[in-house]
């Protein structure tokens, strides 16, 4: 009897540490966040009044929230698209093993191990409109400087490029792993049948890489939604609020606006979006 019970409980003992950590540091704050979102309150007086869905209703008319949500959706779409394309291209170019490709892989992976703050500072140093290296170069060539970080559209482009640069190396490694699982015989057979490299890519590489592509898309989407530090250092959400994404808006609402319960409602919305995207992606992957 005791032996049976022990056998029954053993797996739970194994998952207990992880469950405990997940419960305390992820689940509990999430539950608290959800509860807070139904209240009015601040850091000093605590929760003051239950307001039901009032915070959520307010979100529908909050220009700062809506524009940060729109910026986030556009940012995520472009970053994910570019990250998938670039990391796949890098993986294809560097899949062969040689000293040169190994060095190049290290080079492209390097941004991944850098702190996002360092990435932000480095890009700022290059693209600062007044003191940046690139504008100094342009001036020395007789060209007029470009308002990289003070013009709304340029600033958005720089933020997206910096994010793609910092993420692509990581996904390149995943794609290389995926490429290595494709049997070489398929390519040999295709060559015998007279398929050119482009046909091989579309007919063999891309279809067989689909699970990897899906994984990369899911991970890149979630990471892009959480983008914060690079943008904070690079533009601080500016010019104006042109590069302010949802996570930064939540942070500003909570701390500068001293309105943590309203910020909680925004976090719940972000959580719902991420949850929905993940469910859709999982469904797609199951159907495949």
């Amino acid at each position: 009897m005791g032996h049976r019970l022990g056998k029954l409980l053993t797996p739970y003992f194994f998952v207990a540490p992880n469950t405990l950590i997940f419960g305390i540091f992820v689940l509990l704050p999430m539950v608290y966040g959800l509860i807070y979102s139904f209240y009015r309150g601040n850091f000093i007086s605590g929760l003051q009044q239950f307001v039901g869905l009032e915070n959520y209703r307010k979100l529908l008319h909050d220009q700062a929230f809506l524009s940060s949500l729109l910026h986030t959706l556009v940012y995520v779409f472009l970053v994910v698209l570019l990250v998938v394309a670039l990391s796949l291209a890098l993986a294809l170019a560097l899949r062969a093993t040689s000293l040169g490709t190994s060095l190049a892989r290290i080079g492209f992976y390097l941004p991944v191990i850098l702190s996002p703050v360092v990435v932000g500072v480095a890009w700022r140093w290059m693209f600062s409109s007044d003191l940046g290296v690139i504008n100094a170069l342009l001036s020395s060539l007789g060209q007029s400087p470009v308002p990289w970080l003070t013009d709304i559209n340029w600033a958005r482009a720089v933020v997206i490029l910096a994010s793609v640069w910092s993420m692509a190396g990581f996904y390149m490694v995943i794609f290389i792993g995926g490429l290595n699982t494709i049997p070489a015989e398929l390519y040999q057979a295709a060559e015998v049948d007279g398929a050119n490299p482009r046909q091989q890519f579309w007919q063999i590489t891309l279809p067989l890489l689909a699970p990897t592509t899906l994984l990369v898309t899911i991970l890149a989407t979630i990471n892009a939604f959480k983008a914060f530090e690079i943008i904070l250092v690079l533009t601080n959400g500016g010019p104006g609020d042109a590069t302010r994404l949802l996570v930064q808006n939540i942070y500003l609402t909570a701390f500068e606006g001293a309105n943590p319960t309203y910020a909680s409602a925004q976090s719940v919305v972000l959580f719902a979006i991420l949850m929905l995207l993940t469910l859709v992606q999982m469904r797609v992957s199951r159907e495949r």
């Binding site: 850091f43 000093i44 409109s129 600033a155 601080n236 500016g238 010019p239 104006g240 701390f255």
Partner: protein
């Protein structure tokens, strides 16, 4: 066995350390020199109070509000914190009331009248002023000399805004300073222009916003034109570029900031710099503010906190402390105090403060201004981006301000 003894010894020492009262202080710093100076004074305090151990957590100014908000929300506030004008209004509900520890009249009477509205709330004393701050204009003497521009040196020859613009133009075109003016990205610093133009945020009753006025419009239009005409680098207000760095690197002719930079700028070796009286429009004005120390009513050692606050704001400590930090003491008896190499600069700040109307301080003592700070800055940025006119910005600021005042 030896391990057991060692453990017992550690536990014994630990419990002895705990037996001592530990005063927890959160201290924000703006200049690298500040930490060493406070450490010196903390040692003095510990020597005078052997039963107290002081633990200081230093935070950069940008993180101060967030740090305090989280500590208060977690019900673990520090015993003492160094704060600015906006914070003391924000944390008023949880402030330690010093009036239960001191004779209110004589305690308040030590400080300059301009600082009293910030700390005295209907019989409660919610903090004590450490020093007085004033917005001010620094300039690069080398670039001025190279461009043949003579800076005003006293209240008698203060520039008008037009003269100021002319000087910016000359410095930018005729010296190695590529940029005419660096300007801190704060509502406080912009507000200097509002008051100089004769405007204000809140009326005398304290119940109505009046910033949407011809004076407000003149100030905001003048400010926006400084960006449009390339006198202030756009990155400072649009993309997080640090104005102080630009001035310290010798690339900016002038820098609109404040007196708290003196100790940091004392380290500048690559060029000569000075302080000039603020330019005038309809009138002369600066924006007075201050640094304060405050306690929190739910802290672990409120009695010790009150004792420390009295100590650091006392004449014997505060005057040398202010001199070491090169800041203007908020004590009345500091009048005429000599600061050595920066006496001229400090005389200029004092002159700017002396002509500033009383309602300027009253504006900023209103808790609504602490809530409006970021909002106002955001609306100004929209003007700089061409997303709205100065008039529209002032209307929006006024409407939002009135909404908060009504709440």
């Amino acid at each position: 066995m030896r391990k057991v003894w060692l453990l017992a010894l550690v536990l014994l020492l630990g419990s002895l350390a705990l037996a001592k009262g530990t005063l927890q202080i959160v201290w924000f710093t703006e200049a690298p020199t500040e930490q060493a100076i406070l450490d010196k004074y903390i040692k003095m305090y510990e020597a005078a109070n052997p039963d107290t151990k002081v633990e200081v957590t230093y935070v950069p100014f940008q993180q101060l509000t967030q740090k305090l908000e989280l500590m208060v929300a977690g019900n673990t506030p520090p015993d003492v914190a160094r704060v600015v004008t906006a914070n003391i209004a924000q944390f008023e509900p949880v402030a330690l009331d010093l009036s239960t520890y001191v004779d209110s009249a004589s305690f308040l009477n030590q400080f300059l009248p301009s600082q009293i509205p910030f700390i005295y709330r209907k019989s409660r004393i919610i903090g004590a002023p450490l020093d007085v701050t004033a917005n001010g204009l620094f300039y690069n003497k080398d670039c001025f000399a190279e461009a043949g521009v003579k800076a005003p040196t006293s209240s008698l020859n203060v520039w008008t805004w037009e003269q100021w613009r002319e000087a910016m133009d000359k410095v930018r075109n005729n010296s190695k300073c590529r940029f005419a003016l660096s300007y801190d990205f704060t509502t406080y610093r912009f507000s200097t222009l509002l008051y100089e133009a004769g405007g204000r945020y809140i009326d005398e009753s304290g119940k109505k916003f009046v910033v949407d006025s011809p004076q407000g419009l003149r100030a905001l239009t003048f400010f926006a034109d400084l960006f449009k005409d390339g006198f202030i680098p756009k990155g400072q207000w649009l993309s997080n570029d640090d104005p102080s760095t630009l001035f310290r690197s010798g690339l900016s002719g002038m820098y609109m900031s404040g007196n708290w930079n003196l100790s940091q700028f004392a380290q500048i070796k690559n060029f000569n710099w000075g302080v000039m009286p603020l330019p005038r429009d309809k009138m002369r004005s600066t924006v007075p503010g201050g640094k304060f120390v405050m306690g929190f009513k739910n802290s672990k050692n409120p009695d010790e906190a009150a004792k420390f606050i009295q100590w650091i704001t006392s004449k014997e400590i505060n005057l040398p402390f202010s001199k070491d930090n090169m800041v203007l003491s908020a004590r009345k008896d500091a009048k005429g105090m000599k600061y050595g190499q920066f006496d001229d600069a400090i005389a200029i700040y004092e002159s700017d403060l002396s002509v500033t109307p009383a309602y300027v301080g009253k504006d900023w003592a209103n808790p609504v201004m602490a809530q409006m700070n970021t909002f106002i800055r955001g609306e100004i940025v929209k003007v700089l981006l061409g997303q709205q006119t100065p008039k529209q910005a002032l209307e929006t600021i006024q409407a939002e301000g009135n909404k908060l005042l009504r709440q």
